[in-house]
Amino acid sequence: MNYNERLSNVAVLGAAGKMGSGIVLLTVIEMANRCLIEGKDPCEASLHAIDVSPSALNGLMKYLRTQVLKSAEKSTIQLRKWYSGNPALIENEEIINRYVMDVLSVVKPSTRMEAAWDAYVIFEAVSENPDLKVKLFSSINEHNPNQPWFLTNTSSIPIGELNKKAGLNGNIIGLHYYNPPAIQKLLEIITPAEINPHLVEFANQLAGNLQKTVVHANDVAGFIGNGFFMRDILFAVNETMRLTKEMSLPQALYVVDKVSRDYLVRPMGIFQLSDYVGIDVCVFIMAVMNERLTGENVQCSLFEQLMKQEVMGGQFADGNQKDGIFKYIKGQIVAVYDLNTKQYIELKAIADVGDSFLGPMPASWQPWKLAIKSRTREIMLQQYFDELKQMQTTGAVLAKAYAINAKQIGQQLVRNGVAHKTDDVNTVMTTGFFHAFGPVNDYL
């Protein structure tokens, strides 16, 4: 069975979720395009979009219509070639509308797992719960006569473990998309020790066709992305708790978030990013890692306490940020949560005190937005870090410690055999997390 045949019948589990809907979008476009390139009617292909929530599936179809339309409007030059044989389709608008219809006709939404029983390829994007994943995989594998291939979007659970527990005989691979999958270029591919080599080939071809930046990670809990991110959180929380000896917790959260955002030239501070991902999601991922990694304590009691108080972050269905460690208005931080009073404290007063505590920013500092656009980014960053090195303000001291720790996390990922090389860690952080520079560098 070749690549195109494989893609003729696909199921996506958790299709209406944040990650699932993006994976459906990318996959269905790829499926329809393969048909059109071969001169076939895309209707011959099926993507079973499976989710427990019928209303979320309605939302998925709406999302797909908008996104496929956008994609078609950007690729009309190509579409005109594919539809050149149909004399009834003349104007761009007619061709675009036909394409949207053709792509959407591939998607079959369903709330029943049985829909996956005749698929050749199964993408999985359900919640980060090992037992649930194993249960779904083994049940489908049992009922599906095609010996289907499983491509899981887990961001932390070892693939080998899922393979073994669900009895998949090496027919599973990790395809860790970043959020949102349709926009994020990075794709972490995780190949366990026991794996069907044809599946690896398939995954690589798919990643290539989707024009993803691929990083191959080894099958160690957390992989590269979360392996870095979770340890970065742990360091940040430790720093925060240390600072609470001289200031309140909200004050310390603000300070560490600012150091990790502004001084480290990142798009978001570490706690804002935790809110973006979801405090609960971070706690689940840490639990998965903690159970599987020996000699390392991957646990964060601050986050666990926040979760108990239902301070969770994450996003609303429309993509807006929910309140978490910070309170947001139109995506901007306006207040900081106080664990003791269970109230948000306005940012202004905290920021004034925090900023004077940190001291002035280095003169050569530029915010992330400008840094990533700079054509002389490396020179600019070197100047900035040279200046930072000389400074002894509290902000500079905290920033240097933060950067050094980030570098150590990166090196440790290679030493522990998670990443093949430090460049891979840097690629994940610059591509998947949009950092202006990789953590493993010689700036300091």
Binding site: I77, L79, R80, P87, E91, N92, E93, I96
Partner: protein, 415 residues
């Protein structure tokens, strides 16, 4: 064409802003002003300048595709909306693709020549930013032969002129020609920066020629042209009053406030025919020749030209069609700066279609307004010198790919 039986003048010109990408006020996500806004703004300005709508005998509106961009036809009936004084007066609309504005001027002139009107208000208007560019391309493709749409490029007209550019590259050399294109673009933007209504007025790019030399990417656009080779997608209107001597007298307008039309031509080429030679715009060449002949002058008498540079290649080909450069030598003529505001013959002094903007149905009128401004010293920072021994200007307005042409010769009036 027979000799003009009486003198015809233009006065009270007005251009709205050319709205679209490039202007800070432009926000495609918000509801932007529509046809009514532009018609009113331009029409009312011209009416105020002549002293009231009671002096207007007729109106003509030039427009290409409001029927699709705005789902609105029947534009003549908008004239009384501009001013109540136009109620129960004649008004027609003209359509000839991007030459619609030029045709509107001609209809106005004919009424004056026919002595059925002494003052005709001529407005050109187009509001194109109502749809995304990929759909706008469908609408503008109406200027070509629909039977060829299927085989055409997604961006139909950029595709047509990309083919012209490709043929030109093959004949005369790619780098050589692209240097000319880049200079054309740079001059257009530099001129637009001097004109507050221009779409590129706020352009701050330092190295314009380098930007224009960005390599074309056929995956996203055409084979041989980039977006910098193209005119803008614009919303805007231009208006002007066509008047007889009697009309001017009635309104108390002195000749120094006018330009006189001394020659013109309007001709058509078969829309179903492919050009004989992609490297030549033969209809444009014929139109300029006829207009200059009726005016009884040569290109050496011209002090400025407004030409239809819907694409850089069209600008270069027009330099050759008018006769300032031999075939293949247009890029040199432009690259040496002869078409710049200080050159031998300044072209498109407020930026033309690439710099000022291209609200398609308005462009023909905009050209006339620009020449009127230059000849009456109203061009502000964009003002060029009009030498006394070369008191003539010319506009060349084109519809489709060298299919409909309106060429007009203007002169500073002699008392």
């Amino acid at each position: 064409m027979k000799k003009m039986r009486k003198r015809v003048f233009l006065t009270a010109g007005y251009n709205t802003i050319s709205m679209g990408t490039g202007r800070k006020e432009f926000n495609p996500k918000k509801q932007m002003p529509g046809l009514e806004h532009y018609l009113k703004q331009a029409g009312q300005a011209s009416i105020a300048a002549i002293g009231g709508a009671h002096l207007i005998d007729e109106c003509v509106v030039g427009n290409f595709m409001a029927s699709r961009f705005n789902k609105q036809a029947h534009l003549g009936a908008f004239m009384p909306m501009i001013d109540e004084g136009l109620r129960y007066k004649p008004a027609v609309s003209t359509e000839g693709a991007c030459a619609s504005g030029g045709l509107a001027l001609l209809i106005g002139m004919r009424s004056v020549l026919a002595e059925t009107a002494d003052m005709v208000l001529v407005i050109g208007v187009e509001v194109q930013n109502t749809v995304k560019a990929i759909y706008g391309a469908d609408i503008l493709a109406g200027a070509g032969w629909y039977s060829k749409r299927k085989e055409g490029h997604a961006y139909f007209f950029p595709g047509q002129f990309s083919n012209r550019a490709g043929a030109y590259f093959e004949k005369y050399g790619r780098d050589y020609a692209r240097k000319g294109f880049a200079k054309w673009f740079a001059i257009a933007i530099e001129n637009a920066r001097l004109c507050p209504t221009a779409q590129e007025y706020e352009n701050t790019v330092e190295d314009l020629e380098k930007l224009a030399l960005t390599e074309p990417n056929p995956m996203f656009f055409t084979d041989h042209l980039t977006v910098f080779d193209c005119s803008k997608v614009s919303d805007g209107a231009s208006s002007i009053v066509v008047a007889s001597e009697e009309g001017l007298k009635k309104a108390g307008i002195s000749l120094s406030e006018t330009v006189e039309i001394t020659g013109w031509s309007q001709l058509e080429e078969d829309i179903t025919h492919e050009p004989d030679d992609l490297t030549i715009m033969s209809t444009m060449a014929e139109a300029t020749k006829q207009a200059l002949n009726t005016a009884g002058i040569t290109i050496n008498d011209l002090s400025t030209i407004e030409t239809h540079d819907c694409f850089t290649i069209a600008g270069i080909l027009s330099v050759e069609a008018i006769g300032f450069a031999k075939p293949g030598e247009g890029p040199t003529f432009v690259a040496e700066g002869h078409t710049s505001r200080n050159g031998k013959i300044p072209f498109n002094t407020t930026g033309g279609l690439i710099g000022w903007g291209h609200p398609t149905g308005a462009s023909g009128v905009h050209m006339a307004v620009t020449i009127w401004e230059q000849m009456t010293a109203k061009a502000g920072k964009a003002q060029i010198e009009i030498p006394a021994d070369r008191p003539y200007g010319m506009s060349i307005n084109m519809g489709g790919d060298d299919k409909s042409l309106v060429a007009i010769v203007y002169r500073k009036p002699v008392h």
